[in-house]
């Protein structure tokens, strides 16, 4: 059955047929069609089943407002769920699937339950599935499956996306009549203008009313002339298929452009992006976003074949689709008449049901002339039909009140449309805090033309409540004149005649829900189609004492769907207002939030996926590490070798081998990623005294010291070794992940509190490359390459540094240790990094030198009880909690950062959680990091939590598991035999653990001092 007609000025090309499939059936459409128009042309009425009741649903709208026709487009990696058929451009070979209806569109199991829908009102799920709590996972599974909606792709997306930034003088959102005019007037003045429009073709609603005359020419010609001129202006850019979906602070607008989804697969280019996210900074914004027509609410208004009057008109005029042969159109205003006239002219039998007793005399004459029957003062109380609309039951309305005064005639039809007036598309205007105003004359939430001119946001056309074309063009002209005058420019409207041949508008009837005289017991009248919210549900919510519209929304799910209530919200607010006995402005609107329409994750991510997800930093030895077969782990932005497996080794085997080699002979770690801050100036010592918990006044040139950095609350925030290069020059190291944060911290204190101190900070993290040579044989390895100083135990002591030459390269060597072993950290200019690493490897060959990664580093430091800030601390830990009073210089004259807080009553409590060592009773059990520590093996709730495990490893050197963790009063319990047993509870098991000192290896320091 074809509903396609050869309609004058339609935008489809009947010479270019296209083939597509929907729900397994093959159909034909034409270039210029949307999936929706092509389905309607093929007489497909049922395209979905409703969310809650499984009722058959058809296409209602023609654009972003569509609530029902959610479809799954394409297959495999390209598949996209829940697109609106009204927004999917047809291409040859398009494959579309249904997203609801089980087992099929023709029969949905839920519809059986739907027969009992009286027992499934708003809040049904909340009330029914609340008990017993235990069963919720079971309910949820079934409810989610029943809910339908499309399927997410399971394959990785093979297509690419990107972002583009714009800085323009003026952004115009919307390419309809007023947007085109605004862009032209601004373009002529020389402003840098960007025009975005969501459709494939500019023109907006003019595409649906191509025969209206503007300045004596028809709308198609009028807009073609403007588009031609815009394209000739080099300062104007036009983006079609581009939806502005968010407006943020300071006129930052995000828009997404569809680049390829409208093309047949064969002609899509691999190098082309699928979508592009435009991030637009605009000095001024003109919102010409138009309006959506809202339907009237009446019984069975969800039957397939029922749509908005504007959609019916759009399908006829733009797509050449007559949605039926016998149309009934109900309206409360004049806007439906032009479409009705167009339908009649195309040979369709049209009946108008006008809720007003007095209809526009001009339209009365015209409808009479066209043979359109008009029932004035009537409404449709109920649509009749089962799987498609077959007729309308009319009802006589009261002259003053919206009540049913008498039953009206029954009018058979195969398509039914309604118009309840227009709802301006105020979404973007409201995203960053703007509020629309209720206009009681126009029955709409509108914004004034100068909108938020102070913020640079101007509104033109239907968004301001100006719905007539001629008036909208005039208001656009005036608004642009004001906007341009504010920029010192004059408006140039030469050659533009903005008069139209529209019939002047008469007042609308204030009606949202057509009464059926059945006092709530009539057929279901839907407000929100996507969420199956009926008028009775809103009344119920009010009866159950919901008062705020935001609460009513959440209780009923009004406006919650992917259509975000574009058709339903205003009707819902009006019905709620009536139920609450309030006015519509008193009830207000819910909050409009981005995004205006759904946006794909791909577009939001852009190029920030996979290897380009975020910047990655590599050390100078990266290539060599890869050659050694290193596995890597991210540390902040750095990629660090994690471990170096030999063939056949897993991580445990590799780490055990690396640990033993290092403790018994020599290992080497790439330590280049540690943050390094070069600090100079005459007041460096004093600055460090204030920044660090420990003292720096006495540190001699050539020496290093470990420092703990506290925040003002006394909590450990970073640590590292700082070296005294000279009295006015220190080199600070920070944790790998904390370098930038520490730098900002130092700058902040210096600039805000201590500007009198002369210090200069420079980040030198990547100026240096660091190879840490670790183990009892490290001195012998270094000695082979470094002959210009005495490396002996007493000449180059633990915690000394020296400027030397290593393998012919200038190097700064620190004798410091993060493993407890004799160790040297060899720092060279980063460009020598790879060279020095390889030279050290060669020199260490005779000792079987073993490169190791972060995992072995972690085990070695834990064996020695060295903390890792961020793993063993979490911002709530003082140095005393760590049993590190030795690193706090309480006698320093200046009250260093955090010092006062260490004496706060809370931080100085003795029964805080304290860091201790933990030895599992079973040496083969490695505790779970994060396991809760409890007092007994009885895990029946309630269980008192004493602390948790922060670090836990198998130590190959000790031949057993070790761990560190926090325990309330742990330091005291550690030393009390009989009180030193706790249990580590994770994954349902409680493991017996003994509290011990956290130094497991070489407590006296003989190894690092060797």
């Amino acid at each position: 059955m074809s509903n396609r007609i050869n309609h004058k000025n339609s935008r489809v090309d009947l010479n270019r047929p296209l083939t597509f499939t929907f729900d397994g059936q093959t159909y034909q459409g034409f270039a210029g069609d949307t999936l929706a128009s092509a389905l309607l042309a093929n007489g497909v009425k049922v395209v979905a089943r409703s969310f809650k009741y499984g009722r058959p649903r058809g296409i209602i709208g023609s654009g972003a407002e569509e609530p029902n026709a959610l479809v799954q487009i394409d297959v495999g990696a390209r598949t996209t769920p829940d697109l609106k058929a009204t927004q999917v451009e047809l291409y040859d070979g398009l494959v579309a699937g249904r997203t609801s209806g089980w087992p099929s569109l023709a029969f949905d199991l839920k519809s059986v339950g739907g027969k009992f829908s009286r027992f499934m009102p708003a809040g049904f799920y909340y009330k029914t599935f609340k008990w017993p709590t235990k069963l919720w996972p079971f309910y949820e599974d079934i409810i989610r499956r029943a809910a339908g909606y499309g399927k997410s792709p399971v394959e990785a997306d093979t297509e690419t996306y990107d972002h583009q930034h714009h800085h323009v003088d003026l952004l115009v959102v919307g390419g309809g009549a007023t947007g085109l005019l605004a862009a032209l007037l601004a373009g002529r003045s020389g402003l840098k203008v960007l025009l975005v429009d969501d459709q494939p073709e500019l023109g907006g609603y003019l595409l649906s009313m191509p025969n209206v005359l503007i300045g004596g020419v028809n709308a198609s010609t009028w807009s073609a002339n403007i588009i031609n001129e815009l394209q000739s202006l080099s300062n104007v850019t036009i983006l079609s298929r581009t939806t502005a979906f968010a407006l943020h602070d300071m006129n930052m607008i995000q828009a997404v452009e569809l680049l390829q989804d409208h093309l047949p697969h064969a002609v899509r280019k691999n190098a082309q992006r699928r979508e592009r996210l435009h991030r637009i900074r605009a000095s001024k914004v003109v919102l010409a976003t138009g309006a959506f027509e809202r339907p009237l609410v009446f019984g069975n208004n969800d039957l397939p074949g029922i749509m908005t009057a504007s959609a019916l008109s759009t399908y006829l005029n733009r797509y050449g689709v007559a949605c039926g042969k016998n149309a009934v159109i109900m309206t409360s205003n004049d806007s439906a008449y032009q479409g009705a006239a167009d339908l009649a002219a195309a040979g369709i039998v049209v009946t108008i049901v006008d809720t007003r007793e007095q209809i526009n005399p001009e339209w009365a004459a015209k409808t009479n002339q066209l043979g359109i029957k008009v029932y004035a003062g009537y409404g449709i109380s109920e649509a009749i039909g089962s799987n498609a609309v077959q007729g309308a039951q009319l009802v006589k309305l009261g002259s003053l009140k919206n009540v049913a005064t008498a039953k009206g005639p029954y009018v058979p039809c195969d398509v039914l449309a309604s118009s309840g007036g227009l709802s301006p598309t105020v979404h973007l205007f409201c995203h960053d805090g703007g509020r629309p105003q209720w206009d009681d004359a126009r029955l709409a939430f509108v914004v004034s033309a100068n909108g938020r001119a102070k913020d640079g946001i101007f509104c033109v056309g239907a968004i301001t409540g100006v719905f007539a074309l001629q008036e909208g063009l005039a208001n656009t002209h005036n608004t642009l004149a004001e906007l341009l005058a504010g920029l010192g420019k004059t408006i140039n409207s030469s050659g533009l005649v903005l008069e139209t041949d529209e019939i002047s508008v008469t007042p609308a009837r204030r009606i949202f829900h057509v009464p059926d005289g059945k006092d709530g017991h009539g057929a279901k009248a839907f407000v929100d189609f996507q969420n199956d919210v009926a008028a009775t549900d809103i009344h119920l919510a009010v009866r159950e004492n919901y008062r705020s519209i935001e609460h009513i929304k959440r209780y009923t799910a009004l406006g919650f769907g992917t259509d975000q209530g574009k058709l339903s919200n205003v009707n819902g607010f009006a019905i709620a207002a009536e139920a609450l006995g309030k006015t519509i402005p008193e009830v207000g609107t819910t909050t409009y939030r981005p995004a205006y329409t759904p946006v794909s994750f791909g577009a939001l991510a852009g190029a920030h996926v996979g290897d380009t997800f975020e910047p990655r930093r590599y050390t100078a030895m990266q290539t060599t590490h890869e050659q050694y077969g290193a596995e890597f782990e991210p540390v902040g932005q750095w990629m660090r070798p994690w471990y170096f497996p030999k063939p056949g080794e897993d991580i445990h085997a590799a780490v055990n081998r690396e640990c033993l080699a290092t403790r018994n002979s020599v290992g080497m770690l790439d330590a280049s990623t540690l943050g390094k801050i070069d600090i100079r100036g005459k007041d460096v010592r004093e600055f460090l005294n204030r920044i660090y918990a420990n003292a720096w006044s006495q540190l001699a040139v050539g020496k290093c010291r470990y420092g703990l950095m506290l925040d003002e609350a006394g909590m450990v925030m970073d640590d590292g070794v700082t070296a005294c290069i000279s009295d006015t020059h220190f080199l600070m190291t920070t944790t790998s992940g904390g370098a930038a944060r520490v730098m900002t911290w130092l700058e902040k204190w210096h600039q805000t509190e201590w500007p009198e101190l002369e210090v200069y900070m420079t980040s030198v993290t990547d100026h240096w490359t660091t190879a840490a040579l670790v183990g009892p044989k490290s001195r012998e390895v270094l000695a082979k390459l470094c002959t210009d100083i005495d490396l002996s135990k007493d000449a180059f002591k633990f915690m000394d540094w020296r400027d030397v030459t290593v393998a012919g390269v200038p190097a700064r060597v620190f004798r410091i240790s993060f493993s407890g072993e004799l160790a040297y950290e060899v720092n060279v200019d980063a460009s020598y990094g790879d060279y020095i690493w390889n030279e050290l490897m060669k020199a260490g060959k005779e000792f079987d030198i073993t490169p190791y990664g972060t995992e072995t580093m972690h085990v070695l430091r834990a064996e020695k009880g060295f903390i890792i800030v961020g793993q063993d601390t979490d911002g709530s830990v003082t140095p005393f909690d760590l049993d590190m009073a030795w690193a706090v210089g309480m006698k320093k004259p200046y009250s260093f950062l955090g010092k006062r807080s260490l004496a706060r009553s809370d931080t100085s409590r003795t029964d805080r959680k304290q860091l201790v060592g933990l030895l599992p009773e079973d040496p083969n059990v490695v505790l779970k990091e994060g396991a809760q520590l409890i007092n007994s093996s009885d895990i029946t709730p309630p269980v008192a939590m004493l602390g948790h495990v922060t670090s836990s490893y198998h130590s190959a050197f000790l031949g057993r598991s070790i761990a560190m963790g926090f325990v309330i009063d742990g330091i005291k319990r550690r030393d009390e035999e009989g009180n030193n047993i706790v249990y580590a509870w994770a994954e349902g098991k409680a493991v017996k653990v003994k509290i011990v000192s956290y130094v497991f290896v070489d407590a006296e320091g003989a190894r690092h001092n060797a």
Binding site: D249, M250, M743, K748, Q751, E753, K899, S901, A903, S905
Partner: protein, 99 residues
């Protein structure tokens, strides 16, 4: 997503370049050791957190690394200006004197 004009660089740049530094002009007590627990607690934790105009510190962390002061309306994100610490102090003190 603000655009902030750094008073040191004289450039309007995207918010991403900056880091928030908390309420401005929260002075560290002269001698913390003698502050009462309550005063010290106020200094640490009690911030104005107003709905409306707020003097706040920002750092141009990926730019010149200087800290400066913004006056911003927390309710609608209007920024009236950004000044160096010293310039802002004068304006702030004058405003406080009136209030």
């Amino acid at each position: 997503m603000f655009v902030i004009k750094c008073p040191h660089c004289f450039e309007a740049r995207e918010e991403e370049e900056f880091s928030y530094g908390g309420e401005a002009f929260v002075a560290r007590p002269e001698s913390p050791e003698t502050e009462s627990e309550e005063n010290w607690g106020d200094y640490l934790f009690m911030k104005r957190n107003p709905k409306g105009w707020h003097w706040e510190m920002w750092g141009h962390s990926t730019g010149c690394r200087k800290f400066f002061v913004l006056k911003r309306n927390t309710a609608n994100h209007t920024i009236v200006g950004a000044w160096t610490l010293a310039e802002a102090r004068k304006i702030y003190d004058a405003e406080e004197a009136i209030a």
